[in-house]
């Protein structure tokens, strides 16, 4: 069961920027906005040393972690080569400029993120979801 909760409007996140979303348990979530207003959500923890991705520089479809400059893909949460590792992804729905996260997904216990299982948790593509589809690419 999806349980969408509006968190803010798209224009409340700076273009090429992010906002931090806190939750009761499981760690913060970073919600990113690209130059062309697409929105992505990742666990706010770099797979390298746990740096807060919400504080990084956003460019193209990636964010550079502020601690050691790993490049993390916003769509799949995975580090660009030669680095290896993925940050957990979260579903995002954008409806008439309002950004919503799925509370039932947020309430799931934290687990090691990898793109293969992420798509299972997401339960397929929501027709209204503006996030990209689950990538077929495996972690490098």
């Amino acid at each position: 069961m999806r349980n969408w909760k509006t968190i803010c409007r798209v224009d409340e996140i700076p273009r090429l920027g992010a906002r931090k979303v806190t939750r009761k348990s499981g760690g913060d979530i970073a919600v990113f906005r690209t130059a062309d207003d697409r929105v992505f959500a990742l666990l706010d923890r770099c797979p390298h040393k746990g740096g807060p991705l919400s504080q990084g520089i956003v460019f193209g479809d990636s964010v550079a972690c502020p601690l050691h400059n790993w490049t993390i893909g916003l769509a799949d949460g995975c580090a660009a080569a030669p680095d290896v590792g993925c940050a957990q992804r979260f579903s995002v729905r954008v409806d008439d400029g309002a950004i919503a996260l799925d509370l039932s997904e947020l309430a799931l216990p934290q687990r090691d993120a990898d793109p293969g299982t992420a798509s299972l948790v997401r339960g397929g593509n929501d027709a209204a979801a503006a996030s990209v589809e689950a990538p077929a690419k495996a972690a490098a």
Partner: protein
């Protein structure tokens, strides 16, 4: 839409690299067809010598296996030679009749060995040294025959001779010129090389002119006869007398050739714009290159043009040479022959087999020839390419980079003697073995590639020289360091200077305009170029170009220093390091109220509050009631002072007041990198002015100003700029120097590197000799800083997005 057809003639390193670059940026533009005369996929021709010497196998040196071509949908015709091209119909025809229509044709036919027109050159057992077939023929011959003669004592000939000797043959090298490798070495180094090779068992006939090759009854070569009538027994003769661009096809189809297929700066043949040429067959501005790095630069330019990006020009390359004979170290670069109006610095130690010659002209290094100790080859080569002013390090130049001190590889700068388990890059924990493996397995040739694949030297950069040495030792002679003009990042081919120039000359005011004007490959850059371009804009057009906070690193966006756990540190400004009871009380109250875990005194005489939550930053600033210390930015950080004449019994000048005046005049100043000042009240120099970007030392008659010191990764002592009398002069000279650095420095270049690049004489000419210019510089800095907000208190005016301090809760 139907794709265009791209046909490539030749299947070597330069051509395939062009395809790789093209597929990276425009994977779907062309249907690609490749014709290769050899029956092998693309392999690393440079490494044929280690194969011959038995150090590597043929399988080791394949760069692109057949599957690579298939995986990219490339139609590959191996063992097929293109015999004709009908330019009017735009179709290439192979020797088996295959026809391939093209929209673009890429000629990458490489070069042919030069075979001197000697009687007997067609006998059995007479071969060139150019490809896998030649290498195999040599390996086979060595199994059954004893005597080999190599004609040509250049790079290739010596590598062939060494390989044959290691395979058990008795080898004589015949060389027409007065010493070995005369194009890469001077006479002394050539002589040392010969002696060293002789001690390994090679024989030489220097200055000998070959007259004929003599055969036996079966038509196999048996001896070489010289002009003086003497003969040398030979079962195998290897012709290594040089290479010639392979332009047979190009000439046949009417393309203009002059020692190579003549191409323009976009690698198009000047005869036919649909036809490109790259690699050893191409003549660019009269030069056909034979080393891999220039060819890869050509490949990149050619690919961007084929991709219809219309950017990138090839402007020629400087090259360097290294011999791939294990155990012999030699290196040369640039113009090492000297003479004329050049000067030579020479170190000669024949009994230790070390010889070094550096050629200097107008305080620039223009060439180097090293034998025996080549550890600093890449360092010298960098200086040759960059044209750096070496006046200030001339005394030490001969003794190498290590002598100048560098914690990055102090005590061990000989890449070849390092164990595989030794750590090269201390920032990213990359070991030598990892780098060597990546270079071998993935066929890497440039520093950038090694950085990208292994992260070595990707952080602080202090091990760059060492990584370059490993690259040279592993990839061999084909390697030359990074391109002459290093681009800002992978998003562009433009270098820092070109970006600065464009912003100034075209009056560009936004990052988007810069990317548009310079043809950036990415829509909004990356984390490397955006902060650089943002700085160039606001420093070139102050109060006009708008600062873009999203293009700044988090520290400059949040005006605090991010720490490893995601919290921040806060350093309030204490003018010249002086504080008061009231300030200290407020600091103590803030520490208690916000439960700040650590309070630390910094090297710049400030107090650092560590572990502040981002949500608390605004309130912490408010409660402190002290200006921003800018400890988080590429800005003026601190002016450190000693107590000076007000209290010190030795003090000759009031350093604290001078420091406060400087700090108040310069604070809020953004710069290419962080800027630190110090003022000492007497020559005892308790404020450590000698390792600061601007260091001021009080003497009885006034102030001495030093610039471009650095206490960071590599300690550099500041250089004396001038001596002045008054506080006002200290302020004006310091401001003028810093403004010059702000206007001319490249992003992330500290003053020491900026002054190293432009030379102290340049700084003196602009700041000391020209009083009017000095006043203008100081005035431009004053204008730039005038009215700038304190970001801790004037959030709106400082363009701070305060929403970042308020997390959203679900």
């Amino acid at each position: 839409m139907k794709k265009m057809n791209l046909v490539m003639v030749g299947n070597g390193m330069a051509g395939v690299r062009t395809l790789e670059e093209l597929l990276k940026i425009a994977p779907d533009l062309y249907d690609i067809t490749v014709f290769g005369a050899e029956p092998h996929p693309n392999y690393n021709r440079i490494l044929l010598s280690p194969v011959l010497a038995g150090e590597q196998t043929l399988a080791d040196i394949v760069l692109n296996p057949v599957e690579w071509y298939a995986g990219h949908g490339i139609a590959l015709h191996l063992g097929r030679k293109v015999v004709d091209v009908k330019r009017s119909r735009r179709v290439a025809i192979a020797d088996d009749g295959t026809e391939a229509p093209y929209d673009r044709l890429l000629i990458a036919t490489g070069s042919n060995p030069f075979i001197p027109p000697l009687p007997g050159k067609d006998l059995d057992g007479v071969i060139a040294y150019r490809d896998i077939a030649d290498t195999n023929a040599m390996i086979e011959t060595a199994k059954t025959h004893k005597h080999a003669v190599v004609i040509g004592g250049g790079l290739l000939g010596l590598e062939a001779a060494n390989g044959l000797m290691l395979r058990g043959m008795s080898v004589t090298v015949v060389h027409l010129m007065p010493w070995l490798m005369e194009r890469q070495l001077d006479e002394v180094a050539g002589g040392m090389l010969q002696k060293s090779l002789e001690s390994r068992g090679l024989k030489f006939r220097i200055g000998a002119q070959t007259e004929a090759l003599l055969g036996d009854d079966s038509g196999r070569v048996k001896a070489v006869r010289f002009k003086d009538g003497s003969e040398e027994q030979a079962d195998l003769v290897v012709m290594a007398a040089g290479i010639r661009p392979n332009t047979a096809l190009a000439e046949q189809i009417g393309l203009h050739c002059n020692r190579g297929v003549v191409v323009n700066d976009t690698m198009q043949t000047i005869t036919d714009g649909r036809i490109y040429a790259v690699g050893e067959c191409a003549a660019h501005r009269g030069i056909a290159y034979g080393l891999v790095a220039p060819l890869f630069e050509q490949a990149k330019v050619c690919a961007t043009h084929l991709a219809e990006f219309g950017i990138g020009r090839y402007l020629g390359s400087q090259t360097s040479t290294k011999l791939k004979v294990t155990g012999i170290d030699l290196f040369s670069a640039g113009d090492f022959s000297g003479g004329g109006d050049t000067e030579e610095i020479v170190l000669s130690d024949p009994s230790n087999s070390v010889y070094k010659k550096l050629v200097v002209k107008d305080d620039r290094l223009i060439g180097a020839c090293l034998y025996g100790d080549t550890a600093d080859g890449s360092w010298y080569f960098d200086m040759v390419r960059e044209g750096r002013d070496i006046a200030s390090i001339r005394d030490h130049l001969m003794f190498g980079q290590q002598h100048l001190g560098d914690t990055g590889h102090a005590g061990n700068s000989r890449a070849s003697t390092m164990a595989d388990s030794a750590e090269v890059c201390g920032c990213n924990g990359v070991k030598k073995g990892t780098i060597v493996k990546a270079i071998r397995d993935q066929g890497l040739f440039t520093l950038d590639e090694v950085r990208k694949r292994t992260k070595a030297s990707g952080s602080c950069g202090s091990c760059t020289g060492l990584v370059e040495q490993i690259l040279m030792a592993t990839a061999g002679a084909g390697y030359t360091a990074a391109p002459k003009l290093k681009p800002v990042c992978g998003c562009t081919d433009a270098n820092h200077q070109q970006v600065r120039d464009a912003i100034r000359e075209q009056h560009l005011l936004t990052i988007a305009a810069v990317y548009e004007e310079l043809g950036w490959r990415t829509p909004n850059g990356c984390a490397s170029c955006r902060p650089a371009v943002n700085y160039y804009l606001i420093s070139t057009w102050p109060h006009e170009a708008l600062d873009d906070p999203q293009s700044r690193f988090i520290n400059e966006r949040a005006h605090a220093n991010i720490q490893k756990n995601g919290t921040f540190s806060v350093v309030p400004r204490m003018w010249a390091g002086e504080t008061s009871a009231a300030e200290l009380r407020r600091i103590a109250d803030v520490v208690d109220k916000y439960r700040i875990p650590t309070v630390k005194v910094t090297g710049g005489q400030r107090i650092d509050l560590l572990g502040v939550k981002k949500e608390d930053l605004k309130a912490v600033w408010q409660d402190l009631g002290m200006p921003s210390g800018h400890a988080y930015g590429k800005t003026l950080r601190t002016v450190k002072t000693c107590v000076g004449s007000e209290w010190c019994r030795f003090g000759t000048q009031d350093s604290t007041t001078m420091g406060k005046e400087l700090e108040r005049a310069l604070w809020r100043m953004y710069a290419p990198h962080k800027v630190k000042l110090a003022v000492s009240g007497c020559p005892r120099n308790c404020a450590e002015s000698g390792i600061k970007d601007v260091g001021v030392i009080g003497v009885d008659s006034g102030w001495e100003i030093y610039v471009a010191g650095n206490g960071g990764i590599k300690t550099d002592v500041a250089q004396f700029l001038c001596k002045v009398k008054t506080h006002a002069e200290v302020l004006e000279y310091s401001a003028a120097f810093l403004q010059l650095y702000r206007e001319e420095g490249w992003y992330l270049e500290r003053t020491v590197h900026y002054v190293g690049r432009v030379g102290l004489d340049h700084v003196k000419a602009k700041v000391l000799d020209d009083a009017a210019n000095r006043a203008r510089l100081a005035e431009r800095l004053r204008f730039a800083l005038d009215g700038l907000p304190d970001p801790w208190f004037e959030h709106d005016k400082a363009h701070i997005d305060v929403r970042q301090f308020e997390p959203i809760a679900v």
